[in-house]
Symmetry: C2
Subunit: 486 residues, 2 copies
């Protein structure tokens, strides 16, 4: 194979990339990807991670960028190396994050999106995806219980949460868009201490400030207490603040708790506040007839953030903001009417040009992968994934209860199971030690954290459609094995 | 091939996705993608777009999401349909946007990123990419002229611009993070009327307000006038505002103008303002020995936004924010210290966990595609692409000057060429008419817009490494043909 990147002798009036050489390279790369990431990377006889210290890894990868290019065979070797030393997030023993696993239809959709390389701002450059995004949003909104509304794919749930804040603020005080916050009274946001940190990040970014995020008490299960919410709202008002948004969580990050939406909706209605539901993690229960009751009352919210890249295995990133609004608030709040993109004298209906609803300009096509996966397995197939996850977590919980040394934090409400493993040779804080061994041996990955006054515990999340009970048994045995080595 | 998505009979204790069936599907999809998007999609004998009215297209695509899944052959047909009706942005006759073309090394990197499906927040889940991102940022910073500094890949240049605003604000008033804007004096941002609309969007989103974005006059070429900047800053101060940021542009969206950075740096120093350079479009000139003078003075800036997904053909999205700062401002400004991700008792150097520098939580791996492409052609190969683009725009300009009916707006400073085509049978505003015909025939795509008091003109951007002078001749002939049909 020649060197596609050879640079010395090109006639600059001619193309300097060769399609057939390029396509050959891509085919070779595709084979490596399938072999290394999809076959080996999901094989239980292979490691989840090849732990290397940063200095060693940097040396192995030879990351430096140089003046001249490299031959094709060397580039293919680089692809192998990147695959080799990367974490195998599709591996059945990867329990570390709220994403993982692999769905092949979604992956095909991702390859297609990448190759089509377009931008979701105008019907002109993305006719298929403008219509598709709208249909996928409609499908998700119907699950929330809204026959009408609006929405957008965002680069992550954190961004969706920020959008909700900005919309709520704009609805109450439209002048904020032009004048900023100075003319306004101090605004206040309400959320639980177990909500995702993006609520605070968003408040800081939007100029509201983290001090104006008021934390509402939670019950033993980590669920927001509506009575305390009511109390805190009154208190804030009495201190001269203007409450404008409650950010509830459906499926908290650590414990997987569902805030009681119906009761919170009552409080929001009473005080006329925007009700946002951060269902980035838990939203997928809406597919399941059996489990959707966890989000009862969600249809009373003003906005919902939901990440199909988590539980539905749609692939990073796939994240939507759904709105009940039918007054075009999203566009009014975010539009800048740039004439180079959003000309009003176009020959088609310019309402199709949704780009101005976003604070991004170029915006990735994140709908295709979800659409294709949904077409492939249907709503019933997605429901099944959710049901399976609950079956798995139940299995794991029951087994854990019967085993010496395991202590669960509480009965899981969702697919997060938080637990300690206390080795026979007790030491003070063993969780990080077990974790270090796990990583260095590469056998498995699971996350840990402290919470309030509770010392470090593991949080295992079991949602991948690729899991079997064998993997869960392995999980338990492996924790024991690593812990007992102390 | 069986139906991977068949859902009725699954044992939920077992995996419900089959790897070998899935991999077979992916291979079939890959073949279609290569054939339809990369072969046909770049063939000059094929159309750039298959124009359909929205209703017709929606019907053709059968977008609706249903309860049950579909068989594999039907899903493969759907992939074909999506490809067929999507815009061929890699086609040599796609001149419509500041992205387009295809680089096969980058594309291979994108497939690999998608398959590895990880998140750029911790060394734990992204060891390779944490190190790689840092190296790519270092390489880009060196081109700016900084041996030290910081930075981050962001989901687009608009986000990079917002980050710069937030950092500048935080540096001046760190209390904004906790207290919001209420305690602060009214802040003011300075930019030219030809800057990208994301500056205004960002100001609105951050609670600063679009009225506090003060527009500085430009010269005939669309470049900010430093004397007017100085004037406007003084004026704002006298009206009680606190100027804190100047957002210059290197390569404006429409005209491709470069603001005089060195002179602006003098003004910023004098008034102690944060100097941000929005080089989303123009930044790539830094690779070229011949053209990097356009950004002279950029090393005096505090931050630079640069989108390799535009001129360097790295693929959407690939967008960096570069910082001169060495005090960890990015992390201080954005961190939330979530204990479930950023535990401080980890067994490795937690400074590698860069996720808390971002306001996102999950963040896509956008560095690999650029790294692989850079490794493939070297800095010299990327420089060559920039030089080629300038050669192409010169060619097009000279030809246009010699042809009847073409009138250029001004001599291009960069690779944007703005022009009118005035058909012999003159009509009032023919640009949108030519555009409509072009789209409906699908022969070519180029954007248009008005500017100030100038009526609609075309903006052609020529940067794709896949272009030949034949394509440029075609462009001229086609504009003539479409225009003369009136
Ligand atoms: C409850 C919750 N909300 C929001 C997020 C943030 O989503 P993203 O990572 O897509 O920004 C997460 C991610 O872990 C989450 O668990
Ligand atoms: C000068 C300039 N800045 C910023 C942007 C926005 O970049 P993005 O689309 O990646 O948000 C653009 C895009 O056209 C641009 O031309």
């Amino acid at each position: 194979m020649g060197n596609v990147g050879q640079t010395d002798l090109h006639d600059l009036n001619e193309p300097i990339i060769n399609h057939s050489e390029g396509q050959l390279f891509l085919s070779e790369a595709f084979k490596i990807i399938v072999e290394e990431v999809l076959c080996k990377g999901t094989d239980v006889n292979e490691k989840v991670c090849q732990w290397k210290e940063p200095e060693e890894l940097a040396a192995l990868l030879d990351l430096e960028l140089r003046e001249t290019g490299e031959p094709q065979h060397q580039l293919l070797q680089r692809i192998k190396d990147v695959a080799k030393y990367s974490i195998k997030t599709s591996h059945p023993r990867f329990f570390n994050q709220q994403f993982g696993g692999v769905d092949y239809h979604s992956l095909a959709g991702r390859f297609l999106s990448e190759t089509l390389n377009t931008n979701l701002f105008t019907y002109e450059v993305a006719p298929v995806f403008i219509l598709m995004e709208s249909e996928v949003l409609r499908g998700l909104r119907l699950l929330v219980g809204w026959t009408h509304g609006d929405g957008l794919f965002c680069p992550g749930g954190s961004t969706s949460n920020m959008y909700a804040m900005n919309l709520a603020r704009y609805q109450l005080f439209p002048e904020v868009k032009s004048q900023g916050l100075w003319g306004l009274p101090r605004l206040a946001i309400f959320t639980s201490p177990e909500s995702h940190y993006s609520v605070k990040k968003g408040a800081a970014f939007l100029g509201i400030g983290t001090d104006n995020v008021i934390l509402v008490k939670v019950d033993d299960g980590g669920r927001m207490i509506p009575e305390d919410l009511d109390e805190k709202i009154k208190q804030a008002k009495s201190q001269g603040a203007v409450p404008f948004l409650v950010s509830c969580t459906s499926g908290t990050t650590v414990q997987g708790a569902f805030d009681p939406l119906d009761h919170i909706a009552d409080v929001c209605e009473k005080h006329k506040l925007w009700m946002h539901v951060d269902a980035a993690w838990g939203g997928s229960v809406l597919f399941s007839k059996q489990h959707r009751h966890l989000m009862k009352g969600v249809d009373r919210a003003n906005s919902v953030a939901w990440n199909p890249h988590k539980m539905l295995v749609a692939g990073l990133q796939c994240s939507v903001l759904l709105l009940r609004d039918t007054t075009n608030l999203l566009k009014q709040c975010h539009s800048a009417n740039a004439t180079y993109l959003f000309q009003q004298d176009k020959f088609y209906d310019v309402n199709l040009d949704v780009g101005d609803k976003s604070v991004q300009c170029s915006r990735k096509v994140d709908c295709l992968k979800l659409w294709l996966m949904w077409k492939a397995v249907g709503s019933s197939g997605l429901a099944e994934r959710v049901d399976k996850a609950f079956v798995n977590v139940r299995y794991l919980t029951e087994k854990m209860k019967k085993r010496e040394g395991f202590q669960i934090l509480r009965e899981p409400e969702f697919v997060n199971l938080c637990f300690w493993y206390i080795p026979p040779m007790n030491c003070l804080d063993h969780t990080p030690v077990i974790k270090e061994r796990m990583m260095k041996q590469g056998s498995m990955m699971v996350g840990y954290q402290p919470l309030g006054n509770k010392v470090n515990f593991f949080r295992v999340v079991v949602f991948s459609p690729l899991l079997s009970t064998k993997d869960l048994d392995f999980f338990l045995n492996e924790i024991e094995r690593l812990g007992n080595d102390m």
